[in-house]
Symmetry: D2
Subunit: 414 residues, 4 copies
């Protein structure tokens, strides 16, 4: 059936820029200490020899965390590819890790017929949820259900969980292949070009920015303010600002800023109203957290719940212009759910297709504790441990951030 096999010894190169001096390194430099280090990683794809007997395999899929465009594309493609190998027993675990232990939640038998058109709609066909149980309980459940392959779709936290499951399985000498597919709309996982759903999210986020732009330009001294996702990174805010070309101020968590004072954002907004008559501000959800009172709360996944920088800025801007007696018409847009609860665009659909196929190839090749991703335009497998060392963040010295600054024309805010 397969005739495009990947040889197990094939490698893709991880780092491809050779800086003539360390000072010229930008965002693309993952390791800032060296000018360039060669490093090869496993190429993804089907292997000639497979580790499992397809007819005897029970495969399970679980989707964790928040929604992200493309989840259904990946689920669909994993099912298709498993069936192509000849796997008969495929199930979905409902509502994330919760589905492993919560009573009343039953695993869903999956087949090509059932998932044929799920990619036409957003969301997760299996349901998602945050948080979960202890690793040991999940592995108990895996053991009880006699699962041989577990496909886990989720972000940094979910990957850590998947790796813990993988290690617990090893400890118990279970022959379970645990393969992850990185799912984070924030694009904040190390070492990979991008994660699925990010492209679609930027497209939709740009629509919100365009609305803010239209509101701002049509109002007398209009100020459009858009808050975009980004739990620890400003990728969506940066890319949507760049793609729209309509943003005057882009604020991300990686670059500190002040609102007040001579070099603060508010003073710059005054300047923009005076010179342009209106302006558009795009702020990432995790930006400027030092300006807010800490709530200290966390969600079920253990993520810190942020105080709302968007609402805070809206209030500060209104107060400021009231104080200085200048009219300002502030319109605030938080498009979060509309950005993430939508169907994957064509580019993400292809990415999801390949990542899903490769996840299955990886499991059949006998890998476990890996994640299926794209590096330097090539599809590879990375050890989960490598990608969860820290969230990926925008490098403030990178060319891409400089391009964003050039596009907005904003000064340093401190």
């Amino acid at each position: 059936m397969w005739n495009g096999y990947v040889n197990n010894a094939d490698r893709a190169l991880l780092k491809v820029i050779k800086y003539s001096s360390p000072t010229s390194a930008g965002a693309e430099c993952i390791d800032p200490d060296c000018s360039w280090v060669e490093q090869w990683v496993h190429r993804a794809g089907p292997r000639k020899e497979i580790y499992f007997e397809p007819e005897e395999v029970k495969a399970a899929i679980v989707t964790c965390g928040g929604l992200c465009p493309g989840l259904n594309d990946v689920i669909r493609q994993i099912v298709f590819t498993l069936e192509t190998y000849g796997v008969k027993n495929i199930v979905g675990i409902p509502f994330g890790y919760r589905g492993f232990f919560e009573k009343g939640l039953k695993e869903m038998p999956l087949s090509r017929c059932l998932v044929e058109n799920i990619n036409l709609n957003g969301g997760s066909f299996l349901g998602v949820s945050r948080g979960g149980a202890k690793t040991s309980e999940i592995v108990d459940s895996i053991q009880a259900r006699r699962i041989d392959m577990l496909f886990v779709l989720g972000g940094n936290g979910t990957h850590a969980g998947a790796n813990a499951i993988h290690e617990e399985c090893r400890k118990r000498k279970l022959k379970v292949s645990v393969v992850a597919v990185p799912k984070t709309i924030d694009n904040d996982i190390l070492l990979m070009d991008k994660t699925f759903g990010f492209d679609t999210a930027v497209e939709e986020a740009q629509r919100a920015i365009n609305s803010a732009y239209i509101e701002a330009r049509s109002a007398y001294h209009g100020i459009g303010l858009v808050k975009l996702m980004g739990r620890s990174s400003g990728f969506i805010a940066m890319h949507a600002s760049l793609s729209s070309g309509q943003v005057n101020v882009c604020l991300i968590p990686e670059v500190p800023f002040t609102l007040d004072g001579e070099f603060g954002v508010l003073r710059h907004l005054e300047h923009l109203l005076k010179t342009k008559g209106f302006c558009v501000v795009c702020v990432a959800e995790a930006a400027g957290q030092d300006l807010l009172q800490k709530s200290g709360a966390t969600d079920a996944s253990g993520n810190v719940i942020f105080s709302d920088i968007g609402v805070h800025m809206q209030q500060k801007i209104k107060m400021h212009f009231k104080d200085i007696g200048v009219p300002a018409d502030v319109k605030y847009i938080d498009p979060t759910y509309m950005v993430r609860a939508c169907r994957a665009n064509a580019s993400d659909a292809i990415l999801c297709t390949v990542l899903g196929q490769n996840a299955v190839h990886g499991a059949f090749a006998g890998f476990s504790g890996i994640t299926s991703c794209i590096c330097n335009t090539h599809y590879v497998y990375l050890p989960i441990t490598e990608v969860i060392k820290a969230p990926k963040r925008v490098n403030p010295n990178s060319r891409m951030w400089h391009r964003c600054l050039t596009s907005t024309g904003q000064p340093d805010f401190h």
Copy 2:
């Protein structure tokens, strides 16, 4: 040039349902006291004889209130039609009535070339704002600027203002034609089939509902909550609920409801989570104001500023399910600006084209104090005084509301 003249004595019929008994009357019955009354109104369109000498006319356009899809289409078409008549002197008054008196705001000369493509983007090319000056000051300004025709785009309040201007002009014996085009995304003006932008707003609102539906269905005990516009009426909420077919509870200001108690909304949500596993709620911004503390504040147009029913319900729902120990994952979407700051769809584009053309025909026919609208699928002129007697509201006994109830399957909430 024109060969499709309308005769000044042509009439369109205002009411077209003949109820066999008063009890069967629904939303379509404007006057609930009678079973049916015949009433004819002026048909809109070009007249053979025109009242103004085109070459000597100075025409002005002003857009007031909030944004609405189609504003640019109407502006563009008024300019086109004026030029077709031969008018050379066309200006835009910037930022609503404010543009008549605020220093530093200059009238904008308009031409076909300038407005050719403004319909491709949302917003108002002229800018909008709320509130304004005294009528006498505006008429002073009209007099000083030697304006002969004033085209006013706005909602109920703006129409009242336009009529006051019209009457003040009569009192001063100024030959000024004041013609309005109803602009309210809420569709809340009496006697007309619909106002421009409403169709587009329903389309976009439905997108937000779809996002809420996807979020709700993909979450464990997910509740999607969408707040839609409607300052005094629930038309957008009702139509978007109907068109999406994904709403389980639709709440509008015309129909009172309680949240708590045996027949309250919260109890029904419990029921939906138990039986369906998720649900979607759509609430109009003015709904349930009796449940909120009055702020008493008004905006610059004199509209009451509502306490936010969306945020209130979000909090109440979260608290309720916490109290009863049932997990519930509430996702709240307020798509207001994304619904209104967008381009008109094809249907609205045609409506805007005709309303704009007819506004100019009406002015050249010598009418003043009228509004250009569509009644029973026919384009007519109505006296402003007739349409501003009260805001149009959803009739809770109408077939359309009953269709909505059938679609949602919701009970009475009291």
Copy 3:
């Protein structure tokens, strides 16, 4: 359950314009011979007394002819409403009338669960086809299947078929209710405001026009040519030209034109290239058939197969400009399938919802041989015989066609 009953004696008015003289009558005048005639028709909606015992009813749905946006919305709503009445036995007849007799095609059991989300995609869930069998064979099949209610979605031809079925059932004294819902993307059925799918088609057609406009404007002496549907009428071409505002020449079957000669279309295109540098032409598929060689062929529904006016014009234009030595870059777009194979927009979704509900109400009220439609913004039942007397066509003297001419600025082409 239902509390918004319609009284059987309620009526809606069919004609609502009162012309002061016959000469001012436009497209809205259905009967050109009279200045105005009052005529009342049955108001649609649920009746207090129903004719069938829901639990014993077998209801069937069939979709005939070509695709049209909204087919799935109507199917879905018929199923929902039947279930609300308590009907258990609902089936779909696959692939039009063909499904009644072709071996191997089985009727599909339908339920709320099955059709819940079919409205999210275009096409027909049941499948469509043209043509069919003899009426007597279809009624044999209806009798054999013990069908009590037959819901037929289709155009003029299909309506004629439905009426023949209705009459044959009467003749055989079968208590079968045959209710049609007009389905014609061309909007060419008499007496109704519009048919479902038309609005969506205009929206999509406008996209094609916009592409043609961009191609034309970006090319040196660019000519964009778009062919739009309209088997016997130019409604889509006229409305899409109006809504886009980007068309310079709109050609419809109701208005004859010549290509050659001093007053022909080609000469006008020369003029446009000289003055504007580019132009856009929109032609309805049935326009200018007198200019083509008759093929005489018909499709399976008995519709005449047209020679392709789009391709013909493309060739004529290219030849003409080659002959006169003027460069011209012709881009031809035929977006037919992309216009009709798409999901209904919000406005059509509501129309479909109401028409579908009313079809079921009509059947339960005991009507047969009727069609469910909208007249003067009110939902009514019309006898099929009334609506199929002739296809509805654009009235060249109507205000709407004059608005289109004003928008394009085109002269008479003869």
Copy 4:
């Protein structure tokens, strides 16, 4: 102003896969003879030292060939970046190379204000055309106009022209910097990850496929046939087939096929109709040219004009099923202009932004005869001579083509 300088000695790596054996090499292997060769190319971006005095520079932009989404984004960004450097004299050459010599075509002065919103619409603000004059005449014109920087947007042919201009300028010792930006919707230029507009084209092409799918599935024995662009390569067809997941047969020029015979496409369609009931075929415009009669004609750019494989297949399929007496309902879609005359999506908008900025940086760095592109996710400059050696084509042994085959499930057609 700039603080994110690129050092002139920075390099990006061109090839990043290390194949363990030559046999496992796929599409990603540019040079099939070797297992892996290291090769470094110039990193794009602003340099600390610039070669031109901005205030004295006259810069010109020209767009050649057919339309492609994103042209206006690149034009806009080149103007923005030139102004950021301080360039005052920026002009657009209208309608491709033709604008250099055709009388009556005047260069257009460009500024930030003028191009601010051109990215919101598709097409080329400057106009495009194919073909041109002799290189020497163009350079005469460049000399006469005193142009210092020429930015050329176009495909393989245009790049060859740009390089000839660059060499003629060197010969005449003119200090002119000629910088290209690859513009080919087909994505068929060597060495780069992708060209701008390709992503958007795949998105739109997928819409056409979805229409074909809906038409096919809703018809009795429906066959949807879509022809997509690809003058010498099947990238759009392959990617749109993959992203839609709705294609059963994908035909590209790189992979020969037969229609007739035991292993031909037609026999496979028979099989699909029998087993699935419908099918969707996607064919690239240059596919199967060996099956057609050669026309031998070329367009103004010297490109071979293809006989139309789409129309040919439509006829062959119809005839075949008529011959074998099996009903088949063929729907043919050619979405070419709708795919290319549209606005760039967010991903392409960012690509265009960076390529445009880098083109200007490259000119100021003193480069000439280069093209601005993206390699292995990094932005680089490549010598034009390197990228025009041959058109890039789909490698039939690549993983991506195998993924496509897996997705369609099609056999070898010969």
